[in-house]
Every structure is written in C-alpha cells, then in structure tokens.
Amino acid sequence: MPAVETELPRATPAVTMRAAESAAPTGTETILSTRRLNAWFGRARVLRNVTLDFHDRAVTAVIGPSGCGKSTLLRCLNRMHETVPGAIVEGDVILGETSIYKGGLNAIAVRRHIGMVFQRPTPFPTMSIRDNVAAGLRIRIGRGPSRSETDEIVQGALERAGLWDEVKDRLRDHALGLSGGQQQRLCIARALATKPRVLLLDEPTASLDPLSTQTIEELVYELRQSIAVVIVTHNMQQAARVSNRTAFMLAGEMIEVAPTGTLFTNPRDSRTESYVTGRFG
C-alpha cells in the first residue's frame, strides 16, 4: 500500500522541544522527492512504492525497525544502492527539477549534489585533515580550485561542521589522529566542501559515545539553516531532537510522514503509534 504524502501545516507543535525554540527559518519547499521508488537486493524487495518529499533547509528523519529499508531508501537518493552487486532500483528520484534516474544526471554528478555520511567515520587514512576535506574538490572535472581557494573552502567546511577550532592548528596532521566524534565531523565537513544541495546521514552517531553524539546532533540542528538534511536513525529520541519532519517506515513501505511533533504524539496510523510507543522494534 503506497503511503500518501501528508502535507500538514508547518506550525510546529510544542512537543518538538527544540524545533519550537528555533528562530531560524526552515523551509517547506521540496528539494528532493521520490516517486514510487522500489528497490531490490537480488530477489529480496526492500522498498515498496515509496513516495516522499524532502524539504529544503529542513531536517527529515527516517525511522523504523531494523531491516525496514530506511538505509536503502537513503542509498537510493544518491544512487549508492546500485553500487552493490545485484541491487536494482525502479521508480524515480527528483532533485529540484531533474530526474536522477531517468536521464539528466549521471551517478557521479548526483553524488556531488547529494553528499553522504555513514555509520562509521570514514576518513581517508592516507590523507591529512586538510586533504580529507579537500578530497571531493580535486575530482571536479576541469580545473580544480587553486591552493588559496581550497584553503578557504576547507576552512568554511570545517567551520560549518563545527570542527575548525579543534583542528585549525593541525590541518596537516593525520586524519586518523582525531577522535571518533571528530572523525565523523570531518566526514561531514568533507561532504559539505563540495557544496551539495542535500546531505544524507546514515545513522551518523551509531558508533559514537553520548557526548560526541550530542555534538553531532547540535551540528545537524544547525545545518538545517543552510541545507536539506535527511537523517536515518533507529533512535527515536534523536529523531525527535533534530528533525522537523519524521517519516516512519515498516517492511519497505512508507507508513506515515508528518511534522516530528505530530508523528510522535498524534500519529494517524496505528502501526506508527505502536512503534513510537515502544510496542515493537
């Protein structure tokens, strides 16, 4: 049963603790959307007719029990799903006005517009902190940015990722010398450096300690001012803390999407209610 996109009024309910306090304007304009998206691993169908809009300058959380297809959904958005042997995608994803599966953009171009950060930090071990952040810049087609331009972009990206003050004196040091939480913020900076329009976070705090998790959550909360963020998480409190809208998935289907406060306090679907009240998952 395909889920129906619910466009509820943007008024944020009081329950969305910090979203309510946010002074920053967040968008309602759709920047990325899926259209009857289906995905398979070999014969196993992991996504079933998912149709969903993601808003610009807003954080959308995708929650659901393990194996519900939320990570696969994320990986379909930047065409990473198809890099796995036997993986198949059907349907479409629209970025702005452009279809990313049916012509318009190739996979490489899509991934430059839609950045991604994974569960475990993945700094490139042979590169310094600076070179890690600049890694995505060098591979642009044509002339890359000059040294001073690169320095500027690296600083900007590290500042946005909230890491600049901690690493500005050791940009030439090995990236692996950073703590796990810092490495994850380095990966976020690396993804931001190419100026993507959307940032995908796949359980970005799953391998981090509580303090680092808090830092990343605050960072995600800040990022909504400038970019569209889609975060997959199995932690409902995290979804409640950082997102404007939350989508609930079950067995490959999009069950319900609503402003975060509404979804957690007044879900329309009984399955959503069972999940958010902790009856399964």
């Binding site: 430059r112 994974f118 993945t122 890694a135 995505g136 990966c187 993804a191």
Partner: protein, 269 residues
C-alpha cells in the same frame, strides 16, 4: 604446558642464531674490501672476491622483479575485485599450487622452455624463472592487503563523486600500498637466495658479465661451487658469500619492516 611452549619458542629461534653465529665465525675473516671488488680467483688459489656474483644476484633480482611484480600486483588486484568469480577462484587455487611448487621443478621447466629453444643459458632466463616464483607470493599478499581496506572507505569515495576507477587507484590502492610494498619485498627476499632454478638457467659465470643474454654469476651458485671444492680457502670464500647473501636478505627484510610502519590499522570492518 606453557613451559613447553616457552621452550619451543626459544628453540624456534635457535637455527637462525646458530647460522648467523657460525657464518660470522667462519666467513667474517674473508670479508675484506677485495671480496666486494675483485673477481673470483681460479679454484685453489687464495684471495679474490665475488664482485661479479654480487652484481649478478642484484641483476637477477631486478629482472625477476620486472617480471614478477607487475603480473603479481595486477593479478592480486583482479582477485580482490572479483572475489568469488570462477576465474578468480581458479587463479587463486593455481597460484597457491605454484607457490608450493618445488623450485627445482620450476628450474627444469625454465630450462626446457626458456633455455633450450634459444640455445643457451642466460641471465634473462634466470630472472624469468625467479620472477615466476615471485608471482604467486605477490599475488596473494596484494589480494590480502587490498581486502584489508574497509569497504566503507570505498563507499565513502564513491559517495563523494569519485569514479570507480579513481576510487580503486587513489583510495583503495593507495591505502593498501605500504602492505603491497612489504609483500613485494618479502617476495624479493625469498627469491634472492634461490639456487635450484638458477642451476638450469643463469648457470653461473666465472667472469664479469652484466649482459642479460649471457650466463651470469650469482651468489648462491658461487657459494655452491666453492663449497663443493676441496680447498680450505674456497670454503672460507663460500662462508663469506653466504654471509653477504644473508645480509642482503636481512637488509631487504628491514626495509620491508620500515615500509610497514604506520600502516593503516583499519577499524575492523
């Protein structure tokens, strides 16, 4: 039980210590500058050196590396990329068999197919035989090292907009490079002292020759020739030659160790 393993561990190091000690005692006296700069004297005369054999061994190692490294690294990259394909499984199995092949068998084949058709022994044939011995060693270490690079790193590069090719070269290969270099050096150290394949191919040479088309002197062959001669002074030269050979292997192993330092210790996935 722990006591017995302790004793076993000590005994395991004894052969090497004994060999080094004995070589130093027997051969060190002959390691004069002449040994490195002079040609061998006719058997029976004292003095002389092994300059041609030392240079010959280095040439053979170089030729073997030119043959063995590109093929070994290339095959290793293929195996790492196409883990489960029928061809990869076959290549991996055959490579392990080749690795266990007695070197004398390899020597006979090299003679049959590299020496006999061209009508003469040559450094090139020797280098190719040694190169063939290197291939399986380099193939397997390259594959192992590439596989140690976490998949998550490859994905991170792809997600950043890297092409597949670029990901393989500038992220995966670069991350695995220290390990591959180490594997290559270990393979070089392993073949540096091989004798059997050279008996049928490089043959040995009492004179100065650096030509790839001529028979060439090599330390193991020279050691063999001197050791089986009846003269005391020749025996001393043989011990000294063995000492030099061990030092070459030791230096290569130390470089390998050095290259491994600071190697990427992955997060385990």
């Amino acid at each position: 039980m722990l006591g017995m393993t302790y004793v076993a561990a000590i005994i395991a190091t004894l052969p090497l210590l004994f060999i080094i000690f004995h070589l130093l005692r027997q051969g060190a006296a002959f390691l004069r500058p002449d040994f490195f700069t002079q040609m061998p004297n006719p058997v029976g005369e004292s003095g002389g050196g092994m300059a041609n054999a030392i240079v010959g061994t280095l040439i053979l190692i170089g030729t073997a590396s030119v043959v063995g490294l590109p093929i070994g690294v290339g095959a290793g990259l293929y195996l790492a990329d196409r883990k489960g394909s029928p061809l990869a499984t076959t290549v991996r199995f055959l490579s392990d068999v080749l690795n266990g092949l007695p070197s004398i068998v390899l020597g006979i084949f090299a003679w049959e197919f590299l020496v006999r058709p061209v009508g003469g022994f040559s450094a090139l044939a020797g280098g190719m035989a040694l190169g063939a011995m290197m291939i399986p060693l380099v193939t397997r270490t390259t594959e192992e090292m590439i596989r140690l690079v976490p998949v998550s790193l490859r994905e991170a590069a792809l997600a950043l907009g890297y092409t597949r090719w670029r990901t393989s070269v500038s992220i995966v290969l670069r991350t695995a490079l220290p390990g591959i270099v180490t594997g290559a050096l270990v393979a070089v150290a392993r073949i540096a002292g091989e004798t059997a394949p050279l008996l049928f191919t490089a043959l040995g040479n009492q004179f100065w020759s650096t030509s790839l088309r001529e028979p060439i002197a090599a330390l193991p062959l020279q050691i063999f020739a001197y050791a089986i001669s009846p003269y005391e002074t020749a025996h001393g030269q043989a011990w000294a030659g063995a000492l030099v050979l061990i030092m070459i292997v030791l230096v290569i192993s130390l470089i390998a160790r050095y290259a491994t330092r600071g190697r990427y210790a992955g997060s385990g996935d």
